[in-house]
């Protein structure tokens, strides 16, 4: 009995003395506080930032908004007429409201997550015990990523809040900056990135390099109509960068030509089977309703059924036809029953479910060749198609457009681009005709590469001085009227996607997407909505 008392007293004393007992550490997880201590940690962190430029293996977060943007132009239909189009319809048909944005919500949240992550990384890496050269490289890459996110946000939503320090809960009283201020930050980040990456190796391996920074500088300069800078940077990339145009246009989007000679920056993919690092784009926008019977092999292994979203318009096809641009037409669009361009032997008559396809056309750029399909155990999530983010041809077109406004030689750059696809050079055009030709060349060259919506929003119609999109969309828009009077055998017979796409376009608001209502609410109204939404 005494023993018990003694033991209880002992226990109590013991308990007091060993307060270690209530010290438990979290195992197996690194924390932000003690991260960024090694080169590897800094590199891994930067890798993820780079990954988040497009998250190519995630069909929803950034890929879906990207194709939805294409669907909101004259290049693409929503395309899939067999299934619920709720995610794409609000943008594509210009019915969007802050409450109902379809898949356009996610890009806003995702890019800001990346911006905050980049800010954290930049602050921590500045203090990291790694060499200055290593710091320059990883911080330079991080700055580029932040700039890229802001560049997309400003084009989609207009002036958004800008911040360059990591935020805590006490810092969340930001309001919207102007578009000019956002662009100013983008430019400053890109210039700093280029400077930091000046001596970093350019390995063309998916890693961000200084040329990507210069090329994006060229793009954002063009978008701001800073013609001199647009020319300066595009010229720098063309003349000093280690890039060349692919001689074969098909090689630009090619499962076997990752990070090719023309590529300045690509979102990376891999067919490695134990991770889902393939590209989601060929799945989301692949032909819906393929059937093995339509392949010579009659083998189910050749079938890669896509989800059928984002299908080319006959309007885009006509643009190619009007230039007799066979190479780019067939590299961009496969019409139902045509051979898959470049894959004629194994896929001589590419057929898919017409019932599910608005236009009887699919995007050839997103096509996965039969040989690749056969080599994969797992296809979904493992398709090895890199997605170009910036490539050299754009620089020529940028320089051409800048030269046009600066009174320089615009034609020769266009003709470089045309020559590659075996088109005769344009000669003797000038003024509005030349500008329209530059715009058209951009459309033909860069279709389905994520630029069309931004281009038609910022390009000015030489006749009216108004954004090109206003002449295409709306009740009297040329694109709308074309479709309403179209005789295209596919589009006019599959009316489950309305033929009057774009008719609801309202120039007073639709040059930008709305800010998600959730953001207005969560900011307690400090973030204001875009006009007229």
């Amino acid at each position: 009995m005494k023993k018990i008392i003694v033991s209880i007293i002992t226990f109590s004393l013991l308990a007091v003395s060993c307060s270690d007992f209530i010290e438990k550490e979290e195992r197996g997880t690194q924390t932000l506080e003690n991260y960024f201590q090694t080169v590897q940690e800094c590199e891994n962190y930067t890798n993820e930032l780079t990954h988040r430029l497009l998250l190519p293996n995630d069909w929803w977060t950034l890929i879906a908004p990207r194709v939805t943007n294409e669907m909101s132009t004259d290049d693409a239909w929503m395309g899939n007429t067999g299934q619920d189009s709720g995610a794409h319809r609000p943008c594509s048909q210009y019915l969007i409201t802050p409450d109902n944005m379809g898949d356009m919500n996610s890009i806003y949240t995702a890019h800001y997550y990346t911006i905050q992550s980049a800010n954290i990384g930049l602050e921590k890496m500045a203090l990291s015990p790694i060499t200055d050269a290593q710091k320059d490289q990883y911080m330079g890459e991080s700055l580029f990523v932040r700039a890229y996110c802001y560049y997309e946000l400003v084009n989609l939503f207009g002036g958004v809040p800008v911040y360059t320090k990591s935020l805590g809960t006490g810092d969340l009283t930001l309001e919207r900056n102007t578009a000019e201020e956002v662009y100013a930050q983008v430019e400053s980040d890109l210039k700093e990135a280029a400077a930091k990456l000046e001596n970093a190796p350019v390995a063309k391996d998916g890693r961000i390099n200084k040329w990507a920074a210069y090329a994006l500088l060229a793009r954002v300069s063009l978008f701001q109509e800073k013609w001199a800078e647009a020319k300066l940077y595009s010229n720098k990339v063309i003349t000093e960068g280690p890039f060349a145009l692919e001689s074969d246009f098909l090689k630009i989007w090619d499962v076997n030509n990752h990070n090719g000679i023309e590529s300045i920056l690509e979102a990376q993919s891999s067919s490695v089977q134990d991770k889902s690092l393939g590209s989601a784009l060929p799945t989301l926008s692949g032909a819906r309703g393929e059937d093995k019977k339509n392949f010579p092999s009659n083998d189910a292994g050749d079938v890669l059924d896509g989800w059928g979203w984002c299908m080319p318009t006959s309007d885009l096809e006509n643009a190619y036809l009007s230039e007799n641009d066979e190479i780019r037409r067939r590299s961009t669009i496969t019409k139902w029953g045509e051979a898959a361009y470049g894959d004629e032997v194994l896929n001589p008559t590419h057929k898919f479910s017409l019932n599910d396809n608005k236009s009887g056309r699919i995007c050839r750029k997103y096509y996965i060749p039969i040989a690749t399909r056969r080599s994969l155990d797992k296809k979904d999530g493992h398709l090895p198609l890199n997605i170009p983010l910036i490539r050299l041809a754009e620089m020529y077109l940028t320089r051409a457009e800048a030269n046009y406004h600066l009174g320089g030689d615009a034609l020769s750059d266009i003709n470089v681009i045309r020559a590659r696809v075996k088109l005769d050079p344009k000669t003797g055009i000038s003024g509005p005709t030349l500008l329209r030709q530059i715009y058209k060349e951009r459309r033909l060259e860069l279709a389905f590469e994520g630029l069309r919506l931004y281009d038609i929003r910022r390009e000015k119609d030489p006749t009216t001085g108004r954004p090109v999109i206003e002449s295409l969309m709306g009740p009297n828009g040329t694109f709308v009227q074309y479709n309403l009077n179209s005789t295209d055998p596919y589009e006019t017979t599959n009316l489950r996607e309305p033929q009057d796409k774009g008719i609801n376009f309202d120039a007073s608001k639709h040059l930008l997407w709305p800010i998600p209502q959730l953001e207005i609410d969560l900011s307690n109204g400090l973030i204001k909505q875009n006009p007229n939404y």
Binding site: I22, T97, D99, V272
Partner: protein
């Protein structure tokens, strides 16, 4: 039963001296014919007394025939029997309606019910066992005032239990369960209701503060059955029956679906989706019948044996519960055993040990809603011309264009089962060195192993959407080792006759360790059953594992004092040191105090004794905490991922959670006032309580503006303010008996008003469930927030008049038959500022009604439960009434929906495009009255005593959830959910009606 035990020893001490004039013998039994040991047998007016032995037998000597013998025993009504000429007097003791002297378990002690000063409700195991449920809290519903239980359907589902409303808005709201003194976490699924002797709900903080940092949601103490002194007794219980799963909706058939969809397409300007609907006549796929069983068996059985001597008592029970799933595969099966041994070595030493091995196996598909949602035209199997004969057995199913995966195929593929093995060992040693001092040391070790095996076969139903190109096998293993050691010393003493005091001090240590291991592999050579092991995987192996540990060390104390059983005071104090607390704040204190005035014992109340049998006032205050936090609260974690550089896989890292450095701990303080009364010998009794609970520094995973870029959709744990909930709990019991007929009724009534007192910033708005609920200062938390649906536009005139003052239409895309949304602020625009409070998920009150009747061998029990005044969001209408999606619709929707002036003012016209956002705008269109009254249980039984060689045989027939009254048109009005997302009804698993037969045998 502890008090019998005590009574027995008291009786032993008073062993009578007999003078031997007339010897009387006999047996004392209870109504159930169970002998009662230890009954006091006194010859009235003399000092002669005795007691019954283990078999209820006694002998006593009386002086003459005029003597009277009085039989008395705690919990039973005393009886006086004149001797007369009899030499053998056997009596049947009636259980007394006096509840006052029951023993109630409080934290780390047990006290007389009359000594309780705080708010504790006690429920006997017997009352809980009238229902056949997997989780005992389901049968608690409506039986205790102040406790809301929201049932969860499905085998093994855990109901949501709220004690006096919510006190936290983001953390778990489940109470802490303490079984036989050992804290067992917030789930009680492992316990069979047959194992329970009694259950005590500690409702206010003055009662629960002794559990400190885990008590903010209240504490439920469970005492399991223990052995009783007496002969060995067997008890066998079996109830078995059918759970009924009726389709909650009458879905359209193939022809009806085609008609509805065509209407929706035509209304949006498209041609028919399914031309010529009549071609589908008679070609409906009845998915429900193909995959859902209307009746699924449920069985609850238990075999118990108890007995013992004054040195050793034991109780052993074997319990079995089986609830099959409505899919025909899987379900939930539980086998538990409880072996309790209590030893009394001497007057000073006693000890006990309870072993509780358990086995559970569970797993079942959860896609029942898909059987309603999938379109009725798609056949179950692919037509013959689409089959080659080379497909595997999982690939012969057809793909629906509705996006809904073939549910029959999904059930066919299902192979995800979990086996759980546990052993709980709980032992104590008790030492009483001097009278009034009890030193007790109790330890418990819980060892558990959970093994989950999952196999996903490869299949191709649709090459684009519904397929798995390669099969995979997964295994999870979770090992838990938790131990608790607690030591208490309790000293009771009465000073100067009227001062009764008791002091308890003690300390506890607890440690929880969990280790997990996960393995994954693909490319198992074939899908046959014998290959479904990790070893067989040939490709893409993966694995992960974790080890977590938490600990808690505490000092506890309680001081109770009463003066002359009139004035009572209890104070408790707990100091917790927790590994979950943050660096600078490892220790926290949790005090409480409560007082009670037993008015009835005052001299001036003497004259009311005939009327009043109890009258007490109580008041209590206490503070409790909430340590139930994810580690992410105080730690910014790095997540790991992958990307490709130079064609090779590289590691990536990113911030996966972000810590809030300024975070503080959530505390709950509450104040309660109570009145207990009993009238006419407790024929009518009850209690009325008012409580007020304040939660400070509420922790919430708050969503910040998304530009913040915080991980997890810009969320971070933060203190968001404080909240008050208050209300009343009322319990009224009535019991009466006329001859062979006895009856009783209990009514419980609970109100909860919840109000946000403050938020972290002035004018802050806290959104939940995306932005469908809003929480602002001064209003209830998480109310439904959206547009006001003001009927439908019945005609063009109405449509044309819904404009601003310039004639601009407020809803440019609206057509007749669409919803008219109200311009609430009247600014001539329809925008986000027109959203307003459109409903409340919080009930005005909950009422429980429990009735019982008995006549001779018959007994009848009926339990009702209701929730009145809350709204629910019927999310399913966005599928069932909406022409924009291709899922199946309710039958006759084309006629129910607006199709001409005056045809409906509720369901908008069918539309493929829904350009008016009838369904995508969150509006009062979705809000329905969620009030309901449900008959939880109706049971009729008949008992035979001393027949067929058995002490007792009872047969019963019962129905659970047989009848529900509600205006809610969704699946089931019992809807749970988090606090800022409460009341969102969807395809929640309905609480199923169940019909059961019961058998109880005692011998």
């Amino acid at each position: 039963m502890k008090f019998k035990y005590i009574g027995f020893f008291i009786a032993l001490m008073c062993t009578a001296v007999s003078f031997g004039q007339i010897k009387i013998k006999g047996t004392v039994k209870d109504k159930a014919n169970v002998p009662i040991p230890g009954v006091n047998v006194i010859v009235k007016g003399t000092s002669t007394s005795g007691a019954t032995d283990f078999d209820g037998n006694y002998t006593i000597s009386v002086p003459n025939k005029n003597a009277q013998i009085e039989f008395s025993f705690v919990g039973f009504t005393s009886q006086v029997v004149p001797v007369g000429d009899k030499t053998e007097i056997s009596v049947v003791m009636q259980e007394s309606s006096q509840a006052l002297d029951e023993i109630v378990v409080v934290g780390y002690a047990a006290v007389k019910k009359s000594d309780v000063t705080s708010s504790i409700s006690s429920v006997k195991g017997k009352e809980l066992q009238t229902m056949t449920v997997g989780n005992v809290t389901e049968s608690l519903q409506g039986k205790v005032s102040g406790v809301q239980v929201v049932g969860a359907g499905g085998p093994g589902a855990q109901p949501r239990v709220l004690i006096r409303g919510i006190s936290t808005i983001n953390l778990s709201t489940d109470p802490l369960y303490v079984v036989d003194g050992i804290p067992m976490g917030t789930s009680i699924n492992f316990l069979s209701n047959n194992e329970i002797e009694s259950m005590e709900v500690l409702k206010d903080a003055s009662a629960s503060a002794i559990y400190g940092s885990r008590a903010s949601n209240g504490v439920i103490l469970i005492t399991t059955k223990k052995g009783k002194v007496g002969k060995t007794r067997f008890n066998f219980d079996l109830s078995s029956g059918m759970q009924i799963m009726n389709n909650p909706y009458n879905m359209a058939d193939a022809e009806g679906y085609a008609t509805i969809m065509n209407t929706a397409y035509n209304n949006s300007g498209y041609s028919d989706y399914l031309p010529n609907p009549s071609q589908y006549k008679g070609k409906t796929t009845d998915w429900w019948r193909a995959g859902i069983r209307t009746g699924t068996p449920v069985t609850n059985a238990s075999l118990g044996v108890t007995g013992g001597s004054d040195k050793h008592t034991y109780a052993v029970s074997l319990n079995y519960y089986d609830s099959e799933s409505m899919y025909g595969i899987g379900g939930w099966e539980r086998v538990t055993m409880r072996i309790a041994n209590d030893f009394k070595f001497s007057d000073k030493f006693s000890a006990g040990i309870t072993l509780n091995p358990r086995y559970e196996t569970y797993g079942s598909p959860s896609n029942w809603a898909d059987f309603d949602k999938i379109d009725p035209i798609t056949p179950i199997y692919k037509p013959a011309d689409q089959l080659t004969g080379l497909e595997n057995e999982y690939s012969i199913y057809a793909r629906s264009p509705s996006y809904v995966w073939n549910p029959v195929a999904a059930v066919k593929r299902y192979d995800d089962y979990t086996d759980q093995y546990n052993l709980n060992t709980n032992g104590y040693l008790q030492y009483t060195p001097i009278k009034g001092l009890v030193i007790r040391s109790q330890a418990s070790i819980e060892v558990g192993d959970i093994v989950r095996d999952k196999f996903s076969p490869d299949f191709v139903i649709d090459a684009a959407h519904e397929k798995a190109e390669i099969n995979s096998v997964e295994k999870w293993n979770t090992t838990d080792v938790n131990w608790t050691w607690q030591n208490t010393a309790t000293y009771n003493r009465t000073f100067a006759e009227k001062h009764n005091a008791s002091l308890m001090i003690g300390n506890t240590m607890e440690e929880y360790n969990q280790s997990t291991l996960w393995g994954y592999g693909e490319g198992v050579p074939n899908n046959s059953d014998s290959m479904r092991e990790l070893n067989a995987a040939t490709k893409n192996r993966n694995s992960s594992g974790t080890k977590t540990s938490s600990s808690l060390m505490s000092y506890i104390s309680r001081f109770s004092y009463n003066y002359d059983e009139k004035y009572y005071f209890t104070g408790t104090f707990r100091r917790d040191g927790s590994s979950k607390f943050m660096e600078n704040n490892k220790w926290a204190n949790f005090p409480s105090a409560s007082v009670s005035w037993r008015v009835l014992n005052e001299g001036f109340m003497e004259s009311t004794k005939d009327l009043l049998s109890d009258l007490r006032f109580r008041a209590g205050w206490g503070r409790v905490g909430n340590q139930n936090l994810p580690s992410a609260v105080y730690q910014s974690n790095i997540g790991q991922g992958f990307y490709i550089i130079n064609g090779e896989v590289v590691d990536t890292s990113y911030p996966s959670t972000m810590a809030n450095k300024d975070i503080k701990w959530e505390t709950v303080e509450d104040l309660s006032f109570g009145l207990d009364f009993g009238l006419w010998k407790n024929k009518l009794s009850g209690s009325l309580e008012y409580y007020e609970k304040k939660t400070k520094d509420m922790l919430f995973l708050k969503q910040f503006p998304t530009y913040s870029g915080f991980p997890g959709y810009s969320t971070m744990w933060t203190n968001v303010g404080s909240m008050k909930s208050n209300g009343i709990d009322l319990l009224i019991s009535y019991k009466d008996k006329r001859g062979d007929f006895s009856w009783g009724a209990d009514v419980t009534f609970t109100t909860v008003n919840v109000k946000m007192l403050s938020l972290s910033a002035d004018g802050e708005k806290l959104y939940g469930s995306s932005n469908r609920t809003l929480t602002v200062e001064g209003d209830e938390p998480g109310y439904f927030y959206g547009y006001v649906a003001d009927g439908l536009f019945q005609n063009q005139t109405e449509l044309n008049s819904h404009t601003d003052e310039h004639g601009t239409k407020l809803q440019p895309y609206a057509q007749v038959g669409d919803i008219r949304f109200k311009d609430v602020n009247g600014d001539g625009k329809l925008d986000d500022k027109d959203r307003t409070k459109i409903g409340s998920p919080w009930a005005d009150y909950n009422v429980g009604l429990n009735l019982n009747f008995a006549y001779k061998g018959f007994d009848l029990v009926a339990n009702f439960y209701s929730s009145i005044g809350n709204d629910l969001i019927n999310q399913n209408i966005s599928d069932l009434y909406n022409g924009a999606s291709l899922t199946n619709k309710v039958s006759g929707l084309d006629q129910m929906a607006w199709h001409g002036e005056g045809t409906s003012n509720y369901i908008p016209r069918l539309s493929k495009d829904d350009n008016n956002e009838n369904f995508t705008k969150f509006s009062s269109f979705y809000v329905e009255d969620g009030s309901y009254v449900r008959m939880k249980n109706l049971q009729v039984g008949y008992s035979f005593y001393n027949k067929f060689g058995l002490d007792k045989l009872r047969l019963s027939l019962s129905g659970q959830n047989l009848w529900t009254w509600t205006n809610y048109t969704g699946v089931d009005p019992e809807v749970g959910g988090g606090v800022l997302g409460s009341g969102f009804g969807g395809w929640n698993y309905p609480v199923q009606p169940t019909i059961l037969m019961g058998l109880n045998v005692a011998f």
